[in-house]
Structure formats: structure tokens, C-alpha cells
């Protein structure tokens, strides 16, 4: 047994020093997080605010874009030490396979190159330089307007998708806000590594960042949350509904009037396959399999099941089989990570219950990896929407008409997020209208469910625009 490697999951601007740490264990890797006091956190915030005022607030947007781009470029370069470190460490932390981490990091970060970010700024603000100076309003050119980001933002990050928190960090810096990232105990590494990448590029920019952790909901965390929420002009949180609600309350309590809050809670996604798409059975199944396999189905954009329309050139059951074959193939290219016993047991249970129903003559067909629980496709005639236990377990259900799906999703309305679809152009809009009314906020092609465009309006909230406030200067 070799000793575990200890790495830092935090980043604090100098001269802040912390002497006590906790360690989170991830097999051969230990992640060190500081044990903070309210006073230290207050010092951190003072430091960040000074750096924001002296440096970040004075930088033109283009300069910030360049620096972020340089950091992102390093994360995308296969032989860069930072990238190598991420690839080495993240499989231990997340339980995803190294191949999955490689693909996931590349896909996530590709969207944060400068051109893409510039486009998002222009789309959301109407003008990419509105964070730099007053510009004439389009509808009333005598009136000038500009966008102002918060002086400091606290982002409470989720841990289900590696590197997801980097997007929050980037958005925060783009609006020239100092940034506190509170990491999740499930993935307490990539945000700090990104901050360390920035230090090597431009320390003054990195010193507008602090990455740290505390156990949310615990009594000892309360005083830290109070300090962070009191002094942040914006708090964002991604997590379980409980976590989001708890933070929302705390923020409202600390900042009754001016406090701003963005929360992303539980979400459910699924896929719909039109009968006309079944002519290309293999390619559709390939696309669907990728959506299931990505991040081992841990993302909120991961499909729980696929409804497949009857009356096409193949039966929905054949689609289930094709999907199974593609998942089997992906297991070689993009293997699923190992599971803990409780999770593997759950998958085993779900699969054996379906097998026993199949054996008993119900309209159920189970396709599963030959060994273990690596992937499972359950074809099931019962049309009810059911949640998957995830980790590459997916149901396929036949449906006479895709327009019959939205009513089946009624009780999931508050949770619905992405719906992947493959249908003929002529039916696309009508279907999208119905899904939109049912609560879906993103309708995209199957195969791209886990590859949202960078800055996509998650749950209708905009990447940049919802983080800024507006200042108008009227004509004198």
C-alpha cells in the first residue's frame, strides 16, 4: 500500500493562511480543504474585494476573455501538466473512467474559448462591451446604458459533473466580479485546479478568486454562510432541491432587499424518438447511447428513458436492442466507472425485477451487460414515466404518438429539463410547443443532450445577463 497523494482542493488569495485542514478521501487521493473561521473568511472577502476594485473592475472585457481563454486552452491541451493532473485525479474523485473524464473535460471546456464567450456576451447583453463602458441604448440612443456585475459573488458548486463549477467561475470573472467558489464534497478539485492554472497566467486575476469548502447545513457552517451571504451581492447554488431552498432562505434572510440569488435544483431529462427516425436505427441508437453513457448518466441532462414511436420501419423493441448494442460498444470506448456496493445493488435489483417480469410473460425485455451492471436497457410496454437509477440504466417505452408523451410527464412538470428529440422537421415545432408547455426548458437533438451550447440558459436562467444589473444614464 502506497500512501495517498494529498492535493489541495482550495485556493486562497495571499496573504491569507490557514493552519487547520480536513481531508476528503478518494481512494489513492486525499483532497485537503481548509477549516475556516468566520474571521478568516471575512479576511478573504476583504482581500477579494480589494483585488476586484484595484484590478478586475478596471480590466476591459477583451483582456479578461484572453486570460480565461489561455487557462481554458491549457485544460484542452492533452500534454499540458494541468490537463494531465485533471485526468489523473478526477477519475478517483468522481468514479468516472479516465476516458469519460477526458471526453467530458474536452466537451465542457471547448465551449469556454474566447470566441464562444464573446458570442454569449453579445447575445445576452446585446453588446459585448457593455461591461466596460456606457453605450447608447439601441431603442433610445440618447440614453446610455451599461451593465455592472456584482463586486463579489458566492457560487455554491455541485459535484455531479466534473468541471461543471468552472463554468460558474468563468461567468463570475466575466462580469468582473470577485468570486468565492464553495466546492462540493463530491468534486472538490477542479475549481481549485482551475484557479491554480489562472495563477500561472495572471496572478492578479487569480487573486480575485477563492475556492474553499464547508459542510453545508451543519451548525459550524452557519457562521461561514452568514459571512459569505451577508457580503456577497450575488449567491448562486447548484444542488439538490433541499440545498437550493436552504440557501435561498438563508440569502433572503441575510439580504432582505438587495440580495440576489440564482438556484439550480433537481432536474429530469428524457428522449423522444419519432417513427420516421427509425429508418436510421443504428445512428439514432448510437446518439441515444452516447447521451446515456455521458458522465455515467449523472448529469441533470442525462435521459432517464426514451419513448419510441410505433409504426416506423422498426419496432421500439428493436430500438431497445440497438441501443443495448451501442451501449455495449461504448463500454469499450468509454467505460463506466466502478460503483459502490449500495449503488450496484440497486442496479442489480432493478434489472432482476425486470427479468422476473419478462420471464413471467409481461411485455418487458431486458438487455444487459453480460457481466455486472455496466449497462442495462429495459424495454417495457407500460407507458408511465419512471425514473432511472442511472449509471447507464435506461428504459425504452413504445408510444403510439409522441404527442401522447407530454400528458405522461404531467407530475414531473416542476423537474423537467431537457428533452432530446429525433423527429421530422415538419413535426418538430408542434412537439416542441407541447413539451415546452409541459415544463421542458431545453429541447435538443438526441446525441447532444450532454453537450449543451456553452452559456445555454439553464432552466431559463441566462449565463451572463442574470448576473448583472443595469445602469442607465439619461440625456442631460
Amino acid at each position: 500500500m502506497t500512501d495517498p497523494i494529498t492535493l489541495d482542493g482550495f485556493f486562497l488569495p495571499p496573504p491569507i493562511k490557514v493552519s487547520t485542514f480536513t481531508k476528503l478521501e478518494f481512494g489513492p487521493v486525499q483532497i485537503r480543504l481548509p477549516v475556516l473561521t468566520a474571521t478568516t473568511l471575512s479576511d478573504v472577502i476583504n482581500q477579494l474585494l480589494a483585488a476586484q476594485e484595484q484590478y478586475l473592475s478596471k480590466q476591459p472585457t477583451t483582456a479578461i476573455l484572453e486570460l480565461i481563454d489561455a487557462a481554458v486552452a491549457r485544460w484542452l491541451k492533452p500534454d499540458d501538466p494541468v490537463r494531465e493532473m485533471a485526468e489523473l485525479v478526477l477519475p478517483n474523485i468522481t468514479g468516472l473512467s479516465p476516458a469519460m473524464i477526458r471526453l467530458g473535460l474536452t466537451r465542457t471546456l471547448e465551449g469556454y474559448r474566447k470566441d464562444a464567450l464573446y458570442r454569449i456576451l453579445r447575445q445576452e447583453l446585446g453588446d459585448a462591451h457593455l461591461l466596460d463602458e456606457f453605450r447608447p441604448k439601441k431603442e433610445n440612443p440618447t440614453c446610455l446604458t451599461r451593465a455592472v456585475g456584482p463586486r463579489i459573488t458566492t457560487n455554491i458548486l455541485a459535484g455531479n459533473i466534473p468541471g461543471l463549477g468552472i463554468a460558474d467561475l468563468i461567468a463570475t470573472l466575466l462580469v468582473k466580479s470577485a468570486c468565492i467558489c464553495k466546492v462540493s464534497s463530491h468534486e472538490p478539485f477542479s475549481a481549485a485546479l482551475f484557479a491554480q492554472t489562472l495563477v500561472q497566467i495572471e496572478p492578479r486575476m487569480a487573486y480575485c478568486l477563492a475556492v474553499l469548502g464547508w459542510a453545508g447545513g451543519r451548525p459550524e457552517a452557519k457562521s461561514l454562510e452568514e459571512v459569505a451571504f451577508d457580503r456577497s451581492e450575488l449567491v448562486t447554488v447548484t444542488g439538490t432541491d433541499e440545498a437550493v431552498e436552504a440557501v435561498r432562505r438563508a440569502v433572503a434572510h441575510r439580504q432582505p432587499v438587495s440580495g440576489r440569488f440564482i438556484g439550480y435544483g433537481h432536474r429530469v431529462s428524457l428522449g423522444l424518438i419519432g417513427r420516421e427516425a427509425l429508418d436510421n436505427l443504428k445512428s439514432v441508437a448510437q446518439a441515444a447511447a452516447l447521451d446515456v453513457a455521458m458522465y455515467d448518466q449523472q448529469g441533470c441532462l442525462s435521459p432517464h428513458l426514451f419513448y419510441v414511436e410505433t409504426g416506423g420501419s422498426h419496432f421500439p423493441r428493436q430500438f431497445a436492442k440497438a441501443l443495448a448494442q451501442e451501449l455495449n460498444r461504448l463500454e469499450h470506448e468509454l467505460p463506466r466507472g466502478p460503483l459502490d456496493t449500495p449503488t450496484a445493488s440497486k442496479l442489480h435489483q432493478i434489472r432482476s425485477v425486470a427479468e422476473i417480469k419478462q420471464a413471467d410473460g409481461e411485455e418487458v425485455v431486458v438487455f444487459g451487460s453480460e457481466t455486472g451492471t455496466l449497462w442495462t436497457v429495459i424495454y417495457e410496454a407500460d407507458p408511465a414515466f419512471v425514473l432511472s437509477p442511472l449509471y447507464r440504466t435506461v428504459r425504452v417505452k413504445p408510444i403510439d404518438d409522441l404527442m401522447h408523451v407530454p400528458p405522461l410527464l404531467e407530475s414531473w412538470r416542476p423537474y423537467l429539463q431537457a428533452v432530446g428529440i429525433v423527429v421530422a422537421e415538419t413535426r418538430r415545432l408542434r412537439l416542441a410547443e407541447a413539451l415546452g408547455r409541459t415544463g421542458a426548458s431545453r429541447i435538443c437533438p438526441v446525441g447532444r443532450m450532454q453537450q449543451p451550447p456553452a452559456g445555454w440558459p439553464q432552466d431559463g436562467k441566462r449565463f451572463i445577463a442574470d448576473r448583472v444589473r443595469w445602469v442607465d444614464l439619461e440625456a442631460s
Binding site: A158, H266, K346, S352
Partner: protein, 384 residues
């Protein structure tokens, strides 16, 4: 003409049914005999006969076994008998013939939608398995105790296997004034509190037995009144563990510390019962039996679950389905002869490992772990 051609059919049918019933009662008698007088090395062969019986008489189970290429011809050891996931009791009727009683799961952890059904053809086998096991682990000293039962009565909970079990035990061993404390309005906390106080005053030991949630209420009630009892020596607790999906964040160690502090019952007299609707037999902690049997000179082994002679428990790897070495974590799979009328081999959702003489439970199969914005299945189901 019509009648005469049908009659022989009926005759054959009646004859066949008679044969089948005869065969059923033979296997049931064998199991009863084994439970009453277990013979060393007898489990394996009887388990295979029970499997053969279930393969023949339980059509859904037979089809499942066949789909796994397991038949009476291919299964050579009880270890190879296909195990049915307990969740399948929610989906299918898994019985060998007409049940005398159907027990239903409470369904609290997964919403009211689907309840597991365990059809029990013969309650005498159920009873035969309950009593000696209960005696060995809760009444090794064979005393008669007043039982304060923290469940509903069978009249109030007609489908509950736990209420049925408590009634079997109460009828056999319950001292005067034994009673159920969960009523149609919930836990009769005042009545329970009074009975506990009374036992202390009269210096008569009692047995408190029932669901952990009710014990938790009692502890809270005592705490609010700033009252702690010292129940007379010999008093004991049997709790059934688990808060069934309720959000009480309390470890067993802490809970048992509180039983000790608030009720004055030492750890050695707190016995956890682990049972399930789908299973005829139960498992109990070793502690009281160890202490009172005297074999260990007043010491007890660390708390673990004992396996009665008519049951086998294996710990298997959920990925390979291979047996895990002692001490390694896996899924618990029970083979219970008392389930001879339904399915003997059960794949539970419980996680644990074997120890000398039994096993320990360390967890349950996950819902879907709550990570980030992905969804926790059970949590959402609870909010519906």
C-alpha cells in the same frame, strides 16, 4: 352425455389436486420438523427439496428460474438456487398455492403506489419459525414479562407481518397487561409513558418491543418532560430498526445510548430485530443471548445478527454475484426454509458482511445518490 364426459375430468383434477396437496403437506411437514429439531448438515438437502417444490408449484418463480437456465436438474446446491429480488414481490404473485394469509409491505419508503405482497400458505410454519428464534434471542432466561408493544395490533394492522409476529409472541410469552400502544390515532404516548412509570414503581421488568420510530417518540417525550426512567433489571428492548424513510439522522449507537440513558436498559438488553414482510424468519442481535447463555462468562461478542439453523445468509458481490469473503461488503441474500410456501431464496436490498456466527448490516441499496442537480429518486417520490 355432456355430464358424463366432463365427470372424469373433474375426477382427474380432484385427484391431481389431492396429490399436489399431499406433496405440499409433506414438504411443509418436513420444514416444520427441521425448524423444531434442526439436524446438522440437514439444511442443504432439505433446501434442494424446497427448491424443487417451489420450482413446480410457483409458476412465476419457475419461469424466472428457467430464464436463468436453472432447473431442478441443473441446481446441485442450495447456493445455486436463483434468488428473487424482494422488490419483485411488488410486481408478481409469488406463492405455491392458495395463501392462508397475505402480508403487505407498508410501502413507506417508495410511496403508497406499490406494496409488496407475501402470500403465506401456512401460518403454522410462520409461527414455528418465529417462536424459537424469539425465545433464543429475547427470552433466553425464559421469564414471563409484561410486553409493551410499540406496533399496531393485528386488528389495526391486518396486513402487517410485524403485527402478526408480535401477536404470536404476545400470546405465547406475554405477561399480564401486555398491550399494543399504537392505536388508530397514532402512538398512545401518554399510556406508554404511564406504563413505563408503573413498571418502575412496581419494580417489575418489562419488554418494550416495536418500531424504532415509536421508541424515538418515547425518547423525545421523556426529554421534553425532563424524565429519565430506570426500568427494573431484566427489562429489555426489541426494536425493529430503521426510520423507514423519515429524516431522523441518528446512528444506531447514538439511539441505543439514548435508550440506555432514558430508560435505564443496558446495551446488552437492547436487541435489534431485522425482518421483512417477504421473509418468514427474522434475525436478532446476539447480545442478550450471549450474555444469558453464560458460555462467554458474562462477556458478549460485538453486536451482530444471528442466523437461525433453518436459514442461510450469503453476502454476494452485486457486480459478479460471487460470494464475498468474510468481512467484505456485499448484498445480503437469504435462504429461508420458513418461506417454503413462497420463495426460499431472497435477494434483499440490504448491504452487509459476514462475521463469525452471523452477519452485520451496514446499509441499504442506494436510491439514486443525491449528487448535484441529478435526481434523488426516493426523495422525489416522497414529495409527490
Amino acid at each position: 352425455m355432456f355430464q358424463s364426459s366432463l365427470l372424469p375430468c373433474f375426477a382427474v383434477l380432484a385427484y391431481n389436486t389431492g396429490m399436489m396437496n399431499k406433496e405440499a403437506s409433506r414438504i411443509y411437514q418436513e420444514v416444520l420438523g427441521f425448524i423444531r429439531h434442526p439436524v446438522e448438515d440437514g439444511f442443504g438437502s432439505l433446501a434442494l427439496r424446497v427448491f424443487a417444490f417451489q420450482f413446480e408449484r410457483n409458476p412465476s418463480y419457475r419461469r424466472y428460474c428457467k430464464s436463468k437456465n436453472k432447473t431442478t436438474a441443473t441446481v446441485a446446491s442450495w447456493r445455486e438456487v436463483p434468488a428473487v429480488p424482494t422488490a419483485a414481490f411488488k410486481e408478481l404473485e409469488l406463492a405455491c398455492g392458495r395463501p392462508e394469509k397475505v402480508f403487505l409491505t407498508s410501502g413507506t419508503s417508495q410511496g403508497p403506489a406499490k406494496r409488496g405482497r407475501h402470500s403465506v400458505p401456512r401460518l403454522d410454519i410462520y409461527r414455528a419459525s418465529v417462536l424459537p428464534n424469539f425465545t433464543a434471542h429475547l427470552l433466553p432466561d425464559l421469564v414471563e414479562l409484561r410486553m409493551l408493544i410499540l406496533t399496531g395490533s393485528p386488528a389495526l394492522w391486518p396486513h402487517s407481518s410485524l403485527a402478526h409476529m408480535m401477536e404470536v409472541v404476545r400470546q405465547e410469552y406475554g405477561g399480564p397487561d401486555s398491550a399494543y400502544y399504537i392505536k388508530d390515532t397514532g402512538l398512545d404516548i401518554e399510556g406508554l409513558f404511564r406504563s413505563v412509570a408503573e413498571a418502575c414503581e412496581q419494580n417489575k421488568p418489562v419488554m418494550l418491543a416495536g418500531i424504532t420510530l415509536a421508541f424515538h417518540q418515547l425518547l423525545e417525550y421523556c426529554r421534553e418532560r425532563r424524565t429519565a426512567f430506570r426500568l427494573p433489571p431484566g427489562s429489555r428492548i426489541m426494536d425493529t430498526g430503521g426510520f423507514k424513510g423519515r429524516k431522523i439522522d441518528l446512528s444506531q449507537t447514538e439511539l441505543y445510548r439514548r435508550y440506555e440513558a432514558m430508560l435505564g436498559i443496558p446495551q446488552t438488553h437492547i436487541v435489534n430485530e431485522y425482518g421483512m414482510t417477504e421473509m418468514g424468519s427474522q434475525f436478532y442481535d446476539n447480545v442478550l443471548a450471549d450474555l444469558l447463555n453464560g458460555a462467554l462468562d458474562g462477556r458478549t461478542l460485538p453486536r451482530h445478527k444471528r442466523v437461525p439453523p433453518w436459514v442461510r445468509t450469503r453476502v454476494v458481490d452485486p457486480e459478479t454475484l460471487e460470494e464475498r469473503p468474510p468481512g467484505s461488503t456485499g448484498m445480503l441474500r437469504h435462504y429461508d426454509l420458513a418461506n417454503c410456501g413462497s420463495v426460499m431464496a431472497l435477494q434483499t436490498e440490504d448491504i452487509g458482511h459476514t462475521v463469525a456466527g452471523g452477519f452485520e448490516i451496514t446499509g441499504r441499496a442506494a436510491g439514486t445518490e443525491a449528487r448535484g442537480c441529478s435526481l434523488l429518486v426516493e426523495e422525489i417520490l416522497r414529495t409527490q
